[in-house]
Amino acid sequence: MISSFTVTFFVPESSDWQRGFTTIPHTARTTSHQMATTTKNESNELMLERAARRRRRQATEQAIVAWLLRAAALISILTTVGIVIILVAQSAGFFAEVSVWEFLTGTEWAPLFSPQKFGILPLVAGTLLVAVIAGIVSLTLGLGAAIFLSEYAPERLRRVLKPILEVLAGIPTVVYGYFALTFVTPILQSIFGQDHVIVFNALSAGLVMGLMIMPMVSTLSEDAMVAVPRSLRDAAYALGATRFEVSTKVVIPAALSGIVASFILGVSRAIGETMIVKIAAGATPNLTLNPLESVQAMTAYIVQVSLGETPQGSLEYKTIFAVGLLLFAMTLAMNIVGRWVISRFRQQYE
């Protein structure tokens, strides 16, 4: 009897009422409360109108929010466009006076002296020398740590060690620069002899940079190793393989794309790193392979010029954008290759 009563009471307006309800869950309770107290058709229409208005307002709000969010997303596109335009436009003035060929193949870099020389190779060599040292250090340490953490360490030890290693990634680069200059360089000097090691040298900067990049390499490699399914390892163990054999003959080949990518991304990071090379590697453009000599990296040159009194718009000033453009192109290429390696060669295990 009660049910029949409610049905007869609600039926005439219920379909309209529900349509309103579906868009306004939060206010549904007050609406039904008003329903109970109002029985006349006019007030129902009033209420329907109010619900429709609320719905329109919510739709407008959503449309505005969607536009704001789209605008926020556009900022990242604008940043990239801005970087490319600034670098290209400012270096266009430079390349109008110095040919691209001379810039890319010249072996002397002396833009602040006369006669001016604009061959970037010494800066590229300095950058790569430090980056290669950093790459070797971070790959050796990072891969070793990744294998230990993923294949050998018990879960509890892993949980303690991983965050400690990751602290390394959070330390500012200026601190690493200080560490290289005041701690590592004196050690190198006592090993190789004061006469052979200049205070500012590529080796010290490279070693410390390797320490900085190590957690990045180890985290990315370990992620790739953890993704290798347990069954592959078990199969190898069942054949009597030792842990070392399982690691090097099963896990590493299966996780190779992630390991290679971590190395590429790490070296790219090393190429773009500024403060360590500025503080510890020196300011001498030097086309050398000797890590005990002082070199100047591309980033260090950019910083050196911006700290000086070079007038804006001069040729010397424009060099930092030309160097920046080359640096941007190098790191971008490496990052794209790194991510391509991850996506192209990733083994999909079920």
Partner: protein, 297 residues
């Protein structure tokens, strides 16, 4: 049996060689971890030994000086607070907004894929390049050569934006889709679902990403070095168009001084910087671990 142990077969010799090789390499792997941790310990000890004697209240409350013993970090400390505050105000809405757009609003169109790819690439752009961008766009174009706090904060915002976006996207992805479905079933529209369901659930993850991004902004010196080449600032920035310096920049200035006595001051500055950064990282890790196990219950 005795005979076999006296003259082991080829197979047994191989086996013992393999076990030995395993042991040797384990030592190597452990050594890699140990070297990493020892490096960290050496770095911290080096800084503490050099810097602790200089760390006192006077150091925190006075300005930089030509005399090492009278130098302090008040100006760069205030500059860092300004930069981080303004960067947070700008980065949080833009970064979280971008993440919400990409995860909740965007369709799988080519344009949106380009945005995602672009953000991943921006995360790998060296920080000096952002410095050059800031120098050309903000300092020279927008502020007519004035190397002010706003230019620094805008540059820092662009630098850390990819970190905030990527972390927020991860946090949003971690919200179970059943929560969204429940809200949609109640008749909520997309924005209501985001506002009432997704954001509150994703907040802890976003917070830890934001804190990590801001700690990056605190530690980063290269772009600020290019934006504000002014190095001896002896005042606290009073408005968004004041000149400024930041902690890492002041540390760099001290390291570059020829007198060795400035090294201790630099190390004291590093201790302050590391205390700020490590406590921020600690908070981020704490937030992450506190809320990590919550969903799917």
């Amino acid at each position: 049996m005795n005979k076999t142990t006296a003259t082991p077969t080829k197979r047994q010799r191989l086996r013992s060689f393999r076990v030995l090789r395993d042991r040797i390499f384990v030592t190597g792997f452990v050594l890699a971890v140990v070297i990493g941790i020892a490096g960290l310990a050496a770095l911290l000890l080096d800084v503490l030994v050099d810097g602790l004697p200089f760390l006192n209240w006077n150091f925190l409350s006075s300005y930089a000086s030509r005399k090492p013993l009278e130098s302090g970090i008040l100006a760069p400390l205030a500059g860092t607070v300004w930069i981080v505050g303004m960067t947070a105000l700008l980065t949080i809405p833009i970064g979280v907004g971008t993440a919400i757009y990409l995860e909740e609003f965007a369709t799988k169109s080519r344009f949106n894929r380009i945005i995602e790819l672009n953000i991943a690439n921006l995360a790998g752009v060296p920080s000096v390049i952002y410095g050059l961008l800031g120098l050309a766009v903000f300092v020279q174009f927008l502020f007519n050569g004035s190397r002010n706090v706003t230019a620094g904060a805008l540059t820092m915002t662009l630098l850390v934006l990819p970190i905030v976006v990527i972390a927020s996207q991860e946090a949003i992805k971690a919200v179970p889709s059943s929560y969204r479905d429940a809200a949609y079933a109640m008749g909520a529209n997309r924005w209501q679902v985001v506002k009432a369901v997704v954001l509150p659930q994703a907040l802890p993850g976003m917070m830890s990403g934001i804190i990590l991004a801001l700690s990056r902004a605190i530690g980063e010196s290269a772009p600020i070095l290019i934006i504000s080449s002014l190095v001896w600032v002896t005042f606290v920035p009073s408005s968004p168009d004041s000149k400024f310096t930041v902690l890492p920049l002041q540390i760099f200035t001290w390291i570059s001084q020829p007198q060795h006595s400035f090294r201790g001051i630099a190390a004291a500055g590093i201790i302050v910087l590391l205390v700020v950064l490590l406590s921020m990282n600690g908070i981020a890790i704490w937030i992450r671990s506190k809320y990590q196990s919550r969903p799917e219950q």
